[in-house]
């Protein structure tokens, strides 16, 4: 028993929070990466997450391609589509007020969502976890469904890997430099327009990967991304987008905070992230890790 709550239930909700936090972290990571380079808030991020889940679902339906190949193919498809969108349309908006990028990607989100809603309705489609990850493990103090453990571990690996790639590799140095002064980096001979396309592709692919990871946890539904993206926006406001690591940490912490709220005051669990956002705005308007106003 902990605070009058059975330990099992407490840990169970904490795990749910950690799972949600894993998705918040991956999605806010993608948003922060895209924002850093393109100075655009990618409203379509939730739709791309949903798109990733659907790619997995459709690969299984149409081609009988299972989870493991889909784990690679879904982010690839979403990333490539993202790059095409960037090249043909989004790249025309860089010289404008960033609000236009927000409005454009909002429209894009509506289109992607509308297409899947038109084809598959609003009800969710089940997508089974792979056999290797079905069942669960008794940790002694709680029962952990294997797939959920996998989600937490792989999201940690993805977030850490992305961070390392940006901080420690040559390509990452290009990204960081171009985030600071894109014109000068291009004047050094780096093809910055291609770098921008790759960045949007990478950010989109991260959303697609989150989507395929989420497919067995939640149901695959055209609406799965739109409500989530609003929470992720709040996460991003709390963390500030100046720091990649900050966005990731904030994602996990707010997921856990949501899980804890489910234990103690379930009615408020779907607004707790927004409440925390409001408090942070009062105390530290620039966000916990933010330097920008």
């Amino acid at each position: 028993m902990i605070f009058g709550i059975p330990l099992q239930a407490f840990l169970g909700q904490l795990l749910v929070g950690l799972i949600n936090g894993s998705f918040y972290a991956m999605l806010s990571l993608g948003l922060a990466v895209i924002f850093g380079m393109l100075k655009i808030i990618n409203f379509a991020h939730g739709a791309q997450y949903m798109f990733g889940a659907f790619v997995g679902f459709l690969l299984l339906q149409w081609l009988n391609i299972g989870y493991w190949p889909a784990l690679v193919l879904a982010p690839l498809v979403v990333g490539v589509v993202g790059m095409v969108v960037e090249r043909t349309m989004l790249s025309r908006l860089y010289s404008l007020d960033p609000l236009y990028g927000l409005l454009f990607t909002f429209g894009l989100a509506l289109v992607i969502e509308g297409v899947f809603r038109y084809c598959y309705g609003v009800s969710g489609q089940p997508y089974a976890a792979p056999d290797a990850l079905s069942g669960g493990t008794n940790l002694g103090f709680m029962f952990l469904p294997n797939y959920r453990g996998w989600v937490v571990v792989s999201s940690l690996v993805v977030c850490l890997g992305t961070w390392l790639a940006i901080e420690k590799t040559k390509l990452g140095a290009y990204l960081r430099a171009a985030t600071e002064n894109p014109k000068l980096v291009q004047a050094f001979g780096v093809n910055v327009p291609v770098l921008l396309t790759l960045t949007y592709g990478l950010g989109s692919a991260l959303a697609g990967l989150a989507g395929i990871l989420a497919a067995p946890v939640y149901q695959v539904s055209p609406l799965m991304g739109s409500d989530l993206i609003i929470v992720v926006f709040a996460v991003v406001v709390v963390g500030g987008m100046g720091s990649i690591l900050g966005a990731v940490i904030t994602g996990y912490v707010l997921g856990l905070a949501e899980g804890l709220t489910k234990v103690f005051y379930p009615e408020a669990s779907n607004i707790v992230v927004f409440v925390i956002m409001a408090i942070v705005l009062l105390v530290r308007p620039a966000g916990l890790f933010g330097k920008d106003a």
Binding site: R176, K183, F188
Partner: protein, 234 residues
């Protein structure tokens, strides 16, 4: 003399609505060091930025090694062999000294090795892992120059490399430029300090109100002092 490496003909450039360059003609021959003199705001920095393509609103012709720079995408200009060292130095704060140094891609063989660079700039070696903007102003200037030397560019555009630096550092930069010149590097130098410039420059251009108003070799500098004193206000 041979063909100029860099040739500007009737170069005009605009910042928004502001007309900054009014038909600049300028030549730099291979291996030459040319200094562009002029007061603040006459268009010296604009000239360098227009050559690099950092200002896109421009007319006239600019060729480098016979190639047209006017219609070249920004990232092809460096690949053609032009290295830019901006006035604000452009050191990246999220990159270490090492990362800053290795950032510009190698565009041609014949650039300096890291060892050669560290011989020229020993300070940089000891501070390899520092954050780029933690360096002193002089060290940042060295870094901004050093990173272009790795790339094998044929020509450097240097914007006021001595600005705001202590005399001993200015001295050091002068030595480095002389060394580069000895190695055959072509240099276009924007400078207000002509006492510094006369030690390395072969020729001078004088700029006023977005136009070139005089051009003379270093040997004529002394007989031009009266004019320079008047125009530069020194």
């Amino acid at each position: 003399m041979s063909e100029p490496l860099l040739a500007l003909r009737g170069l005009n450039a605009w910042y928004g609505e502001g007309h900054a360059l009014h038909g600049v003609d300028l030549d730099v021959f291979p291996g030459e060091t040319v200094t562009l003199l002029g007061r603040n705001g006459v268009g010296k920095t604009t000239t360098l930025r227009a050559i690099m393509g950092l200002i896109r609103k421009r007319t006239g012709t600019t060729t480098f090694g016979g190639r047209d720079l006017m219609h070249m995408p920004l990232h092809h200009v460096a690949r053609a062999g032009l290295g830019f060292v901006p006035e604000e130095r452009g050191i990246f704060s999220t990159l270490s000294v090492d990362e800053n140094l290795n950032l510009p891609p190698v565009v041609a063989p014949g650039g300096m090795s890291l060892d050669e660079i560290f011989t020229l700039f020993p300070n940089l070696k000891t501070r390899r892992n520092s954050q780029g903007t933690k360096l002193s102003g002089g060290e940042q200037q060295m870094l901004a120059m050093a990173r272009m030397l790795r790339t094998g560019v044929k020509m450097l555009l240097l914007d006021e490399p001595t600005e705001g630096l202590a005399p001993v550092i200015v001295q050091r930069i002068g030595e480095v430029l002389a060394e580069l010149k000895a190695r055959g590097m072509t240099i276009l130098l924007v400078e207000q300090n002509f006492r510094f410039a006369r030690r390395i420059a072969d020729r001078f251009y004088l700029m006023e109100h977005g136009k070139i108003t005089a051009s003379f070799p270093v040997g004529e500098l002394d007989q031009r002092m009266a004019l320079l004193g008047e125009v530069l206000g020194v």
